[in-house]
Subunit: 535 residues, 2 copies
Amino acid sequence: MTIPVNPNPEEGDGTLSKKAQKKLAKDAQKAAKKTEKAAAQVQPEKDEVDVSVGRYGNLPMIRSSRGGEFERLYGRSFAHVKELDAKLANKDVWVRVRLQTSRAKGKQCFVVLREQSSTIQGILAVSDKISKQFVKFASTINKESILDVFASLTTVPKKIESCTQSDVELNIKELWVVSSAKPQLPLLVEDAARPVNEAEQEGLNIKVNQDTRLDNRILDLRTPANQAIYRLEAGVCRLFRDILTKNGFVEIHTPKMISAASEGGANVFTVSYFKGSAYLAQSPQLYKQMAIAADFDKVFTVGAVFRAEDSNTHRHLTEFVGLDLEMAFKYHYHEVMKVIGDLFTEIFKGLRDRFRDEIEAVKQQYGMEPFKFLDPPLILNFPDGVAMLREAGVQIGDEDDLSTPDEKLLGRLVKAKYDTDFYILDKYPLAVRPFYTMPSPDNPKYSNSYDMFMRGEEILSGAQRIHDADLLTERAKHHGVDLEKIKAYVDAFRYGCPPHAGGGIGLERVVMLYLGLDNIRKTSMFPRDPKRLTP
Amino acid sequence: MTIPVNPNPEEGDGTLSKKAQKKLAKDAQKAAKKTEKAAAQVQPEKDEVDVSVGRYGNLPMIRSSRGGEFERLYGRSFAHVKELDAKLANKDVWVRVRLQTSRAKGKQCFVVLREQSSTIQGILAVSDKISKQFVKFASTINKESILDVFASLTTVPKKIESCTQSDVELNIKELWVVSSAKPQLPLLVEDAARPVNEAEQEGLNIKVNQDTRLDNRILDLRTPANQAIYRLEAGVCRLFRDILTKNGFVEIHTPKMISAASEGGANVFTVSYFKGSAYLAQSPQLYKQMAIAADFDKVFTVGAVFRAEDSNTHRHLTEFVGLDLEMAFKYHYHEVMKVIGDLFTEIFKGLRDRFRDEIEAVKQQYGMEPFKFLDPPLILNFPDGVAMLREAGVQIGDEDDLSTPDEKLLGRLVKAKYDTDFYILDKYPLAVRPFYTMPSPDNPKYSNSYDMFMRGEEILSGAQRIHDADLLTERAKHHGVDLEKIKAYVDAFRYGCPPHAGGGIGLERVVMLYLGLDNIRKTSMFPRDPKRLTP
């Protein structure tokens, strides 16, 4: 017999006014005291026989003891909740799980047990083998505690919609608390996992706001959507590296502490370095280029990038993960642009094919349109993009950069016309690019540079770099760059350097936009912005 | 006909006294002027017919022009020098190469052309198709310049020992300078690549010292040994990630800027963070552990780690690449220690099998004993290690940490007894480990912690971490740690946390010791130490 476990609306908290928060905290404290009291009572009284003795309780702290009571546990094998289905019916299994919810009802206790993104219902009912005390003990365990559960897996007549394992449940025979959670939690994983539309539709106003989530990131990360987001993010990195390695790229590591600001003095963090100062690299570009000048031919690097920009927007972080690549080419930078475009196509295919479950989990909570892309990717020339914007009523000069709203609008126009969420905008005006960008030889107003966009937001900026020290000096002068400060950079091109191009990708942006999320803090596990340095 | 190209002893420079350096610089300047003069003369005189016109010269800067003279080049396909062998004899090929050396001899010019680690001899002789001017031009090109060369590949009667492609040479038909190097170079790649013993044996005293190398890293990195070292280093990272991913680990990214020093206040770099301060993370440990508390089960991360330690030794850097992992276990931390031990075995096998050429290239320059390991790895208990040291005459207390000389001696003793360069030392004394290390439940003097060693130097430190907030608080108090500063860390264990263990690996150390190199600056592409922040 199964009783579906409904989410308990009273449990929602974590946001709203300070007053409300205080009340909730007080209530939680009361509840905690009650729980503690109840827990104290579950010790079997001396004159009462507990038929379940030795089948439940708090396990001593796991300290890897040799000999003693743990020795017998070492051979024990555990099943994963996600593998539990009707095929294993009537088998006995051990699982290590979290207690997501528990609900006592007369002589029964229903629990929802969670392992990562998978949930299963468990049931404990007083019988000749299950004591009252055992059931009582189970009902007083704090949510989010970690348990070792031994149970018989049984099929259920009616699907349990509230669990991912909907065809089976666990008839609990043993239950041990491995690690107990505090009785009050600053947020409930159930609430943090609630689909964005559901709470609004049902008028429950159960919503855990972004700061509460980030302040209690350990709990927030336990939601199925977050479990999926960071697995997919790992997937993007993996695809990036695997595809490039297959294409002959070599991974390099570039220093984060540098002696001079790599891209001008603005927006750079300063570090006390023994008796002097250092700066945190705003990009690995100089080092990627040096690796090219040092004959590595094609290189990539994945690592932290720092921007001391006081931008408090949905898409800026002060520290993010850069996926950077640089490649020597023979005669035309399009050789490189093609490699990068194809790289994205391969990544999108890889995500689509290998991360179906993860994409679905994120969709369940946040909803989004599936990400569309063309193979090969669409390449637009900058003037053609400008023409599309003008046609849509935007006033923009030939050599103006695109504003963020322009980029978003152009993204929508491109989507409407070409049905793709990814495209490349090539040949930016020279005036809006950094001094080291190779000017176009065909039209002095433009440059050999490109940006790439996902859902109308820039996720890569790249270009052919100037590989000639004299031209680089000339362009730096034109931009008013202090030649003394970039001497080492310029000198790197004095010992023979092949023509080369590359680009830098913001990992968190790629994941945010691929999944159609609204805030980059959702795709940085421990985000850093001007106002947040913790946890 | 082939004439082997011998290294020219006069070319060595880059070290020795300041006086000698000045003289060399002056000589180089003279040589440069001469070269320039010679170059000026190669323009064909008006009254002299140059039969090679259009077959040599300086290519205009490659700026990715559409139309014009470059259009015809776009379809050109290039061969790689490493692929050029007798099988391709009598074929015409294009190669893009560096000029390593050139030597004019009468009406001929012999060159050594290099592409990454591969070299081939080229020959240009005056004939009805090759003009005097062409030969003259070739002989005046600066070393390390990048060239496009069109040539017929021919076999040679006698092996060319000085080139990697010893069975063939290039009969040059066209030669274009793509990017010219300065006439004076601060070091010659040939000298930087010289086997360490050769210079000594021959009494030539041609040695490029470490600082000259690092100051001119772009040139130094072009040696075959360096090309190999950083490819092998990329291989270590790749193996680390691939093996762990296969075992269900998820890659995460942890912040480098943190609000409080993660492992005590000493040796931490301070960053100006808007109106406040931040610190550079000394390890990702807290964040790895938080990911475990957040149900990611098994995680790894590869990234920059910072130590503000004023140690000027062969094995300390202020910034290095950490390969970190953390893993929840069921009942005993040896579950994790085994995973890490097997990880190393797999990495060593992968390097041995997939990086044979790279290992050979490093051996050619530096020489070293091949790296030996056992499968499964040797695990020694700390007290057994201490016993071995005592037997060898070392005075050491039961609860003392091993000094660096002790570690090296123990490494030699282990090698002699077990014939392995890798082993695990388990169960360190509790007193010498950080406060968050789980004490051994079986003997209060010891802890559930381990170090791993390669050639007698520590390359991994790890342990079971305390996953219980109360015990963690107790141990922190015992160590005199300020509880207020580690509140966030301790609180992370209040919402249920599985027992877990892990470790951190220093990438550069692993590569240094695997290859038997004597300095960690040889395995960091752009090393950082208390005295070096550049390039």
